[in-house]
């Protein structure tokens, strides 16, 4: 059976999402977590763009494309905020990871 390119890209998006999700949960370092969130986001964008090309005819579905367009800018801003928060965590605790609440109290 021939794998449809739309399906290939959509499954690649799912794969990226899974890779990001694993890294987000498995690693403590905040930069790794922020990068993992970005990889997850890229997976979602790839999936949405692939799904838009299911429409018959030359014009892909514009609505998922519009969502990705705005989503990219939002993800950049969320990354900026996350980096600022991580920087502050490092300034307060001298560690690039979230404080372990169970060990503290």
């Amino acid at each position: 059976m021939k794998l449809d390119p739309v399906l290939l890209y959509a499954l690649a998006g799912v794969g990226l999402f899974a890779i990001g999700l694993y890294a987000l949960i498995a690693y403590q370092h905040l930069l790794r977590k922020i990068l993992a969130l970005n990889v997850m986001g890229s997976g979602v964008f790839l999936f949405l763009i692939a799904m838009a090309y299911r429409a018959p005819g030359p014009v892909p579905d514009p609505v998922p494309h519009a969502m990705v367009l705005t989503g990219i800018v939002v993800s950049v801003c969320a990354t900026g905020l996350a980096l600022a928060l991580a920087h502050r965590v490092h300034a307060e605790t001298r560690q690039m990871k979230l404080p372990d609440e169970s060990a503290d109290s």
Binding site: V14, R54, A66, E92
Partner: protein, 244 residues
């Protein structure tokens, strides 16, 4: 760096991570199966989007979706951009260029070549967005790139614009967007329901204001905090080193 933060320790494959991997693989398989079973010929909203295109004021269906059909989303999203900068400002002060490196002649020469071209592309992308792929978001990203390049080359030697000017630039997109959204209600329309005769100019107006705000937002995020010359910054959040 403390021993726990040794990057090599952080990448060891432990039993806990094996468990996480198993759960993620199971979830990904379920997702993949769901994607696999989706119909491959669904047209989604292509039909309605193209039918209404003549009334949207633009001929690029993606721009029509961003600023007309789903204008409510984009309005909120411009607000999210502003919120992200407010969040960054409340936790940090801009100290990226506290110790400026020596001026780099290579960077300056490079900047002289690319900066005019970048600004030309910004204007082109903003204008072409109505007819072809392009628009405020792409143009804003390139304008932000130009500003970041300039900041890197200048490295804090030239004083930054006054804080209120940056604040105006940051808020302009949201303010204009809300003004247009509410303004179209005056002749009796609904929120964000542009009259078809003026939709094209209104969209270009919103996009121009959004361009300024998007570029200012991304550049402010690059600076990483509230500007030092911000008059309200005296009682703000300078990280208290070793406070805890």
């Amino acid at each position: 760096m403390t021993p726990q933060q040794n990057p090599r320790d952080d990448t060891r494959f432990t039993a806990r991570r094996a468990l996480v991997l198993a759960f993620v693989l199971a979830g990904a398989s379920a997702l993949g199966w769901a994607v696999f079973s989706l119909p491959l010929d669904a047209s989604g909203l292509t039909g309605p989007a193209l039918e209404q295109l003549a009334k949207s004021g633009v001929t690029n269906p993606v721009t029509a979706a961003v600023l007309n059909y789903r204008g409510y989303d984009t309005l909120i999203e411009i607000g999210v951009l502003l919120l992200s900068v407010l969040g960054v400002w409340s936790v940090a002060k801009a100290d990226t260029f506290a110790n400026p490196p020596p001026a780099s002649p290579v960077l300056w020469s490079f900047l002289r070549l690319v900066l005019p071209v970048m600004l030309l592309i910004v204007g082109y992308l903003l204008w072409i967005g109505s007819f072809a792929p392009g628009g405020a978001f792409q143009a804003g990203a390139i304008l932000a790139g130009a500003i970041v390049l300039w900041l890197l080359a200048d490295a804090g030697r030239t004083p930054l614009p006054r804080a209120w000017m940056l604040r105006v630039a940051l808020a302009l997109g949201l303010v204009v967007f809300i003004a247009v959204a509410v303004g179209v209600m005056l002749p009796g329309g609904k929120l964000l329901e542009y009259p078809p005769a003026h939709a094209g100019s209104l969209i270009l107006l919103i996009e121009s204001a959004a361009l300024v705000s998007i570029a200012a937002t991304l550049a402010a995020l690059f600076l990483g905090g509230r500007l030092a010359n911000d008059s309200d910054a005296t009682n703000s959040a300078k990280p208290q080193k070793g406070a805890r």
